[in-house]
């Protein structure tokens, strides 16, 4: 009797006891699918998080001001970030590994044009912004140093604004638009870089706008630079470069009560990883218990099966089956049973993750390594918990087995 024949024999014996087999496999199904689902959710969430953190600018890292003193004379103290100037940022740019330092500010304005009204974000930029962000110019020109120096009342609109607020055949460059009841001149149109999920939000549906940051500061009474992003030459050294740039900026601004720090994105990921590792371990240990209980269930059923089939075993021995052949038959049966449980568990996990992908804000990612481990592990359970019943079957004396009532 070759392996394939033993296997088909095992399958038919499992098939003959459908309900019992399914119930026996339940522990294995739950254990295997739980691990696959949990790991898939974790991988999906992690991927989403990494995308969110790094997608907009893979090699950009924000610098922000963190106060080091919180109290003065027993009272809570709020430290105003120091005013950062363009010259200081130019000095930070000289730090090794730094490619660009982007100082921006922003505000929200109401734009009126052609009977259309839209609230939109206006980003105050300098002349480097366009190159550093690698924006695509569609029409007109970029903002330049002179625009900033002379507080020019000019704006660049993005492709979304062009589409939504202008007629297709209308000349956008040179048009005068109205923002917060003041006129501004459009000098250029650029390709929008808003991610798709933002475009669905009402406040971004009509795009964004760029203006000289000096102008924004004047319009909104805000600092000329309130957001600082460092772009590294090498994305790999992003965090180190960010730290060096932050140190330099702290030195330049000379604040006593606070310092500039770079946001360490990899720390978020690491934190998430360790948090998720805890959950994975927890679920895995529950799954492990489920598999153990499943394995004991398999052993129990196999023992019952051996007892039920005592006569069959006796007969097979009388017909010439050796101990090894009987042992193999029962072992293959229990391995088939648990592997089938593992396969059903994988199928179930695939189904659940497919449903979860529709419900969750991210898609769970099934890890093929976990799937393979799931199959191997469930087969192993079949061997470990099948060996005892199989051994018992093989040791039956044919004559006693045949006489068994």
């Amino acid at each position: 009797m070759n392996l394939w024949e033993s296997f088909t024999l095992a399958l038919s014996s499992i098939w003959n006891h459908k309900i019992r087999s399914i119930l026996t496999m339940l522990g294995i199904i739950i254990g295997v699918s739980a691990v696959i689902i949990v790991v898939a959710i974790g991988d999906g969430a992690r991927q989403q998080m990494a995308d969110d953190l790094f997608s907009t600018d893979e090699n950009a890292i924000p610098l922000y001001f963190e106060q080091t003193t919180y109290e003065e004379n027993g009272e809570m103290m709020w430290v105003e970030p120091p005013a950062v100037t363009g010259e200081q940022l130019d000095a930070v740019k000289e730090v090794a590994g730094v490619k660009y330092v982007l100082g921006t500010n922003s505000g929200w304005g109401t734009m009126n044009h052609n009977e259309h009204t839209a609230d939109m974000e206006i980003i105050g930029v300098d002349n480097q912004y366009f190159i550093a962000k690698d924006l695509t110019l569609l029409e007109g020109r970029r903002l330049n140093t002179r625009d900033n120096d002379s507080y020019s009342r000019v704006a660049m609109i993005d492709s979304l604004t062009r589409e939504n607020m202008f007629a297709p055949d209308e000349e956008a460059v040179g048009a005068i638009i109205d923002i917060n009841d003041n006129p501004y001149k459009v000098v250029g149109v650029y390709e929008s870089t808003l991610p798709p999920e933002f475009r669905h939000m009402e406040e971004f549906s009509n795009g964004q706008m760029l203006m000289p940051r000096t102008l924004i500061s004047m319009m909104f009474g805000s600092p000329e630079i309130d957001t600082i992003n460092v772009i590294a030459e090498q994305p790999d050294n992003l965090t180190e470069t960010g730290f060096a740039a932050a140190e330099k900026l702290t030195e330049l601004t000379g604040s006593e009560e606070g310092m500039y720090v770079a946001e360490d994105m990899s720390a978020y990921v690491e934190e998430f990883d360790s948090f998720y590792m805890t959950i994975t371990l927890f679920i895995s240990s529950i799954a492990g218990i489920s598999l153990l209980v499943g394995g004991i269930g398999v052993m129990n059923i196999m023992l019952v099966s051996v007892t039920e089939r005592t006569r069959e075993i006796g007969l097979r021995k009388a017909l010439g089956a050796t101990r090894g052949q009987i042992l193999r038959q029962f072992l293959i049966e229990s391995v088939t049973l648990t592997s089938l449980g593992g396969l059903i568990g994988i199928g179930f996990a695939a189904l659940v993750t497919a449903v979860l992908a529709l419900v969750l804000p991210f898609s769970p990612i099934i890890n093929p390594v976990v799937v393979i481990i799931g199959i191997l592990f469930s087969s192993m359970i079949g061997i470990v918990f099948g060996i005892l019943p199989a051994n018992k079957a093989s040791k039956l004396s044919p004559i006693d087995a045949l006489r068994y009532e």
């Binding site: 009797m1 007969l315 021995k317 017909l319 089956a321 050796t322 004559i399 045949l402």
Partner: protein, 226 residues
């Protein structure tokens, strides 16, 4: 050639020891047709089981074709059963979930015969025992006589030299029993050694030699004259 000398079988040990066979001397030549008779509990089945390698003797020797089988280990015994012996049981002992053909094929699985040859041999034998049109039937769809025919086909499929039938007609009515005996007689004519256990004189009358056991000893061994 089956040769038993001073063969004993004792169940249990010490004060609980039950001697079942107490010194059997017996020779059965190739191609003989033998009936073993005797009262219930006299040790007939025990003797058959030892001859069929299902059980081991406690003392004495058993040699098959001149070879002492005392030294045979578990695996060799399985091989001897598979190669030399075809069993027919009173309760048929067919595997209930397998059809007639698959039941007949079972010993061939353990002999490592290819699927093609298994099918050919099983169908050939089912044809021989008159069940040509029942090959796909499950045991539950067969009459007692048909079941026993399947069992006989199964006993023959490995081309054994010896057919052991412990009360093969015990669960059948006399007419069906007679048909089974006709079949066994035919097999004997073709050269098989056939040994049956029976309680019935009419059944024993089909054979050429009757051995009577009582309390674990052979008390009579005679030729049948027809």
């Amino acid at each position: 050639m089956i040769r038993l000398s001073q063969l004993t079988k004792t169940y249990g040990s010490g004060s609980l020891a039950v001697p079942v066979l107490r010194g059997i001397d017996l020779e059965i030549g190739d191609g003989e047709f033998v009936a073993i008779m005797g009262p219930s509990g006299s040790g007939k089945s025990t003797l058959m089981n030892i001859i069929g390698f299902l059980d081991k003797q406690t003392g004495g020797t058993y040699s098959l074709n001149g070879e002492d089988v005392k030294q045979a280990n578990e695996k060799q015994l399985a091989g001897l059963r598979n190669k030399h012996i075809g069993f027919v049981f009173q309760q048929f002992f067919l595997l209930p979930r397998l059809n007639a053909q698959k039941n007949v094929e079972t010993p061939l699985l353990y002999a490592g015969i290819s699927k093609k040859e298994r099918t050919a041999r099983a169908l050939g034998l089912l044809n021989k025992v008159g069940l040509k049109d029942r090959t796909g039937h499950l045991p539950s769809e067969l009459s007692g006589g048909q079941k026993q025919r399947v069992a006989i086909a199964r006993a023959l499929v490995n081309q054994p030299t010896v057919i052991l039938a412990d009360e093969p007609t015990g669960a059948l009515d006399s007419k069906t029993g007679a048909q089974i005996m006709d079949l066994l007689t035919e097999l004997n004519r073709e050269g098989k050694t056939v040994i049956i256990v029976t309680h019935e004189e009419e059944i024993a009358a089909y054979t050429d030699r009757i051995i009577v056991l009582r309390d674990g000893l052979i008390v009579e061994d005679r030729k049948v004259t027809s």
